[in-house]
Amino acid sequence: MSSPRHRLFLSLVIGQCALAVLPAAFAQRYILKDNTALAASEVTLGSGALVQQVAIPGGGSFERRYPLADVARLEFPEPEALDEAEKLVAAGSGADALKLIEPIYRQFAPFSKVVGSHWPRAAQLRLQALLLGTDNSAITSSARELMQSGLGPDVTGTAKLALAQLDARAGKEALANVMLEQIVREATPAVQARAWLLRGDLAAARTAHVEALECYLRIPAFFGTIDELMPAALLGAARAYQGYGDSSRAERSALDLIDNYPATLQAAQAKKEFNL
């Protein structure tokens, strides 16, 4: 039998939990520059403004407009669909990912630069999903949109990388390399790492195995905390080792991949390619 004091403590904890859960589940609010909070359920998105229907006592209503420029912050929970889409992109299912991303991308587009907006992540994921397909004009316009967004070096780097990837696909390797050179000098580590991966792919396509190895192996050597790029780097390195004639290192790289990232596409590919 717990004492009244314990009961009080427990009820307090439960209350706190309830409070902690509530904002994540329901609080979708626009916070204006004057700290006014507008519940998302009470406003609609009009032309250049959030529109609130205000009921007049005794009947009727009028519209109150809040210019979008006055929105200082968004308090919207992170959409789970984006996490799901990220997994789909990693699994190579670009079209399925796009289905999840597009509504979020459109919903937050008017607030692309507002603090708390989920547009930057949605737009970057969208670009990655598009890159899995062949719609080059959509990729180009998505990349340009991100470059012009002014959302910082990470976003700009991602966009530049996509453009380099398009150049590479079009066989304009020299052009791609100019862009990649710039990225590895200036971009954030995450983007730099992806640029090295692409450089590795380009070198591998030329069967320049030493160059490919030096690009792929930069990921484990310099970007060891970016786990998501490791499977591609290890598979690329395994192939490049094989091309270079070092089959024992090739096998070890493939085994590293299979042991440490067993659920990835690259691990499955490595098993097949290296008979492991």
């Binding site: 004492s3 004091r5 314990h6 403590f9 580590p189 069967t207 030493v210 190895l213 030096e214 192996l217 930069r218 484990p220 050597a221 310099f222 060891g224 905390t225 390195a237 094989q242 091309g243 004639g245 070092d246 290192r249 070890r252």
Partner: protein, 999 residues
């Protein structure tokens, strides 16, 4: 500040470790103003005391009523004078202990608790601890008060640094559900401070097992990892760090986490767990990124703290949160400060990463890291070690050009480094292990040139002698060991040196001199390492001077003296057999060869013995015995590469006997074992033999008309029957091989169109990775000849990527060189042709590679190099044919570019040689004629020009289809040439009849 890293891996590592910051959980931070939420002097209690005041009766004037004193206590507390309140509470306690009644509703237990708490707030820890102990002794104490009292006592003791005494108190306080987590936390911290690491670890473990995953959890986990590192529990520390890395969002002290990772990495490295160390180091971020991220987190902590501090009347929970936030912020700032004070942090991290990568075989990654360290941290203390590591990495990966270049940089940066000779010695060893003996000699030479003699001088000199010997530079090898023996008469390697000198003489053909040295060696080193070999060599020298009898006797003695497991035994039997054969005793020789076959032999010796037996059997026309030998070999060693030789010889012998069907059946049986496997490139040798047997015209029987050749369809069906049986029937590689045999038959029957059609079928029906290297090369060449370079390219690339060691690798390099030339890329073409020779050994395509190099040089405008190579091609008698015609024509072209009358005359001679001696190659003949005529015009010899053109135009059938035909007609019409006089043909240069060289 604790210093944890004490690894002594290398001087530099240690030095850097000493400079590193180290503990994340600095000195214990205990609450100094209040204990914790429920222990804080609560407004609720004050209200209760005030309420009591109204109910207490008034006392006599001389004695202040306890109720009044309690009111004063409350006033003092409100006025933030806890020390005054504590004094008053002590007085009240004394009065209560003296028997005076307390106001109704106030128990002694509550009074003592309030006093203990107030003393604790006033930092009067001895008194607070004393009061806590008093409460614990009360008979009537309730569980809640008991728990509070224990916490006050435990903390008071800890704050007096009586950590060991505090530990059991906190342990007892764990009984309370309310205080369990805090009791565990403070208990662990006290145990840590008391140096009782196992107790601290065990307590933290119990705390983390049940507490929620929040920022407090992350703090405790960090502290636990720190303890594990210090206690040497690297596996537990590694697991803990992994857990924290998975919950990074909860970790406010990222700098501390990085420092711990560094310490853990060092500990793992010290324990020899390089994989674990690498895993720890790889999670560490660079200094700038870390500082930037930590500053962000510190700012977040400060914002959270400011929000809490702005609360006017903070609750006990708020106060506790403030205290914990403050403590966390202090720790994070301290860790950040440590990182900021370390300019060498990144270099240290790079070095550790590189070292651990290298130690676990990641020489490529390590080289990248060392290069980065050397390029970006020029002042780093790790530079010398980094250079040493870099040289080793490049050597380990076989990039010897990079080794040379890095040794050069190393020597310039650290001319007297003690690591220099070591690095070169290791590089030399690596080069030797890759059979790059020239490279090995280079590194040994660099060591001698750049560094004074040291402990490695002896092994390096012997290594040099061995390398020279292996390169067949016997005289230099001998010179080296003789000098070694002179400088180190008692040296560690004197026996090896003496024996090597004898072997050098033997290899140079001075067998008499060698024999003498071997005899002296055997006398001086009767138990020496090389005695069995020396005795074998003595027998071999006897054989070489055709003293077969002595040789046989020495062999017999050798075989009697050494046990059956002596590894050279097979070789001795083989030599014995040779001696017996030399003595004409073939039957015994055959027995001796069979003895050898039953013992371990190197592949080279095995091949020799098999071939000798095969030769003797055939000479004695014992075909069945020869076939039986090969069949037995193939049955006993089904996976040995010589099985293909077995099949080849069986087929040849049976064909020689006219037993074509039997030959085909035997060869197809062995072929089918490997026909599905594209990596077995030697199968093609059998396939070619099979094609030759099938394409053979039927024998003419005496008195009967010459039989009609067997139709190709029939032969092709037979090919399928022979190859595509059972599991090979639907195998793409086997099917492609069957098509290849058919194409070879077409080729042998001079049906080039059918051959190309069949090779084209292989190209379109099978992916390159399904084809063996020999077929890839043939298909690539066919596609290139048919004007499909893009298709050909896929096949050539497959050869050099999937079968770089294949004997057919030069097909790939030469093919890709030809395609690069077609694309006008002279540099790439040159690289490919060079690789065909240097990497692949140009076993089949030396002529094409040499001609290709010449063409590439010509394309690049390097005419002297081109001329030299064209002359090489033109002068090689075994290559005589179209390559010669092309080379001569190009020599003419190069001469013409110089333009002097002398050069024009030379050019003319080259052109004439083409159209007179190489008429079988009309494309070159047509070109040569027209250029010859033009050259005559340049030389002002119009009559000769006219005659040349007229002579060319007599070869209408051969030359009319070439563009030069029309050019000749145009030149004749427009150059104003006189009528042709048709003098006799100029004398042809003395050359052998042109025969197209087989590629």
């Amino acid at each position: 500040m604790k210093k944890i890293c004490n690894t002594n891996l290398t001087e530099a590592l240690t030095r850097q470790c000493r400079a590193l910051p180290v503990s994340v959980s600095p000195t214990m931070t205990l609450p100094r103003r209040s204990v914790s939420g429920p222990l804080y002097f609560r407004p609720k209690l004050a209200l209760a005391l005030l309420a009591l005041l109204g109910t207490v009766p008034a006392f006599a004037q001389v004695t202040i009523p306890i109720a009044n004193q309690l009111a004063e206590v409350e006033l003092n507390l409100k006025a933030k004078k806890p020390a005054d309140a504590a004094n008053l509470l002590d007085e009240i306690i004394k009065r209560a202990q003296a028997g005076e009644a307390l106001p109704s509703g106030l128990t002694l237990e509550r009074l003592l608790l309030t006093a203990a708490n107030t003393n604790f707030q006033s930092q009067l820890y001895p008194r607070a601890a004393e009061l806590g102990a008093l409460i614990e002794k009360l008979d009537s104490v309730g569980p809640a008060a008991l728990a509070e009292a224990r916490m006050i006592r435990g903390l008071s003791l800890a704050l007096q640094q009586k950590y060991a005494e505090a530990i059991p108190i906190f342990k007892a306080a764990e009984e309370s559900i309310t205080f369990r987590d805090k009791a565990l936390l403070y208990g662990a911290m006290s145990a840590n401070q008391a140096g009782q690491l196992p107790v601290a670890i065990e307590t933290y473990n119990r705390l983390l097992a049940t507490s929620a995953r929040d920022r407090d959890w992350a703090d405790a986990a960090l502290a636990l990892v720190d303890l594990h590192v210090r206690a040497g529990n690297v596996a537990d520390a590694r697991r803990g760090l992994g857990l924290l890395r998975g919950n990074l969002a909860l970790v406010d002290n990222l700098a501390g986490l990085n420092i711990l990772s560094l310490q853990l990495g060092d500990a793992l490295m010290k324990a020899g767990d390089n994989a674990g160390a690498l895993a720890a180091f790889r999670t560490i971020t660079t200094r700038d990124d870390l500082i930037s991220e930590q500053k962000k987190r510190n700012a977040g902590l400060e914002r959270a703290l400011a929000r809490l501090q702005a609360i006017t009347r903070p609750s006990a929970t708020d106060s506790d949160a403030i205290r914990r936030l403050n403590s966390r912020l202090e720790q994070a700032k301290a860790s950040l400060e440590q990182i900021e004070k370390l300019p060498g942090y990144d270099a240290t991290l790079r070095y550790r990463l590189a070292y651990t990568f290298q130690e676990r075989g990641g020489a490529w990654e390590a080289a990248l890291l060392y290069e980065d360290l050397l390029a970006n941290h020029p002042e780093s203390a790790e530079r010398e070690n980094a250079f040493f590591g870099l040289v080793r990495c490049y050597a380990d990966t076989g990039r010897f050009e990079k080794v040379r270049e890095s040794v050069d940089r190393f020597t310039r940066a650290f001319p007297g480094s003690k690591f220099g000779p070591q690095a070169l010695y290791l590089a030399a060893m690596a080069a030797g292990s890759r059979n790059d003996l020239e490279g090995q000699l280079t590194f040994l030479g660099l060591a001698t040139d750049n560094y004074a003699a040291g402990e490695l001088t002896e092994p390096m000199r012997l290594m040099r002698a061995n390398a020279l010997f292996s390169l067949n530079r016997y005289a230099e090898a001998k010179e080296t060991v003789v000098a070694y023996a002179k400088d180190f008469p008692q040296g560690k390697f004197i026996e090896e040196a003496r024996y090597l000198a004898a072997m050098a003489d033997l290899a140079e053909g001075r067998s008499g001199e060698a024999e003498k040295q071997i005899i002296v060696y055997l006398k001086d080193f009767p138990e020496g390492r090389f005695v069995p070999d020396a005795r074998y060599r003595l027998a071999a020298t006897a054989y070489s001077r055709e003293d077969y009898k002595t040789c046989a006797e020495l062999c017999v003695k050798w075989l009697a003296d050494y046990p059956s497991e002596q590894p050279q035994r097979g070789e001795i039997h083989s030599l014995h057999a040779d001696a017996l054969a030399g003595l004409g005793n073939i039957s015994e020789a055959i027995v001796a060869y069979h003895e050898a076959l039953n013992l371990p032999l190197s592949d080279e010796q095995l091949g020799y013995v098999l071939d000798e037996l095969n030769r003797h059997y055939q000479a004695r026309r014992e075909f069945d015995a020869a076939v039986a030998m090969w069949e037995q070999f193939a049955a006993e060693k089904p996976d040995h590469p010589f099985v293909i030789n077995a099949a080849y010889w069986i087929s040849r012998i049976r064909s020689k006997e006219g037993k074509f069907d039997e030959a085909l059946e035997l060869v197809s049986q062995i072929t089918r074992r490997y026909v599905n496997d594209p990596s077995r490139g030697d199968v093609e040798r059998l396939l070619v033999e099979m094609a030759a047997t099938l394409a053979r015209p039927p024998r003419v029987k005496k008195g009967e008309p010459k039989p009609e050749p067997i139709p190709e369809e029939t032969l092709f069906a037979r090919v399928n029957q022979l190859i595509l049986v059972g599991d090979t029937r639907n195998n793409p590689t086997a099917r492609a091989r069957a098509l290849f045999v058919q194409s070879e038959i077409a080729s042998l029957r001079k049906n080039d169109a059918l051959r190309d059609q069949l090779l084209g079928k292989i190209a379109s029906n099978y992916a390159p990775d399904q084809l063996p290297p020999g077929i890839l090369g043939k298909v690539g060449d066919a596609m290139l000849a048919l004007g499909q370079p893009e298709v050909a390219k896929k096949f050539y690339e497959q050869i050099i990527t999937a079968h770089p060691k294949s004997v057919f690798a030069d097909f790939g390099y030469v093919g890709l060189g030809d395609i690069a030339l077609l694309d006008g890329n002279g540099d790439e073409a040159l690289n490919r042709y060079n690789a065909a020779i240097d990497v692949a050994g140009a076993r089949f395509k030396l002529k094409e590679a040499t001609l290709g190099r010449a063409r590439a040089f010509a394309l690049l405008g390097k005419l002297d190099s081109a001329r030299e190579l064209f002359e090489q091609v033109a002068g090689n008698r075994s290559w005589r044919g179209e390559a010669t015609a092309e080379a001569l024509y190009n020599l003419g072209e190069i001469a013409i570019r110089r333009g002097t009358p002398d050069d024009l005359a030379k050019a003319q001679a080259h052109y004439q040689r083409v159209y007179l001696s190489y008429k079988r190659f009309p494309a070159w003949v047509a070109k040569a004629y027209i250029r010859s005529a033009e050259t005559f015009i340049k030389l002002g010899q119009k009559q000769e020009a006219s005659n040349t053109l007229e002579r060319m135009l007599t070869f209408r059938d051969q030359l009319q289809s070439y563009p030069e035909w029309k050019a000749a007609l145009d030149l004749k019409a427009t150059a104003g040439l006189p009528a042709a006089a048709f003098p006799p043909e100029p004398a042809a240069p003395v050359t052998a009849a042109p025969t197209p060289a087989k590629s």
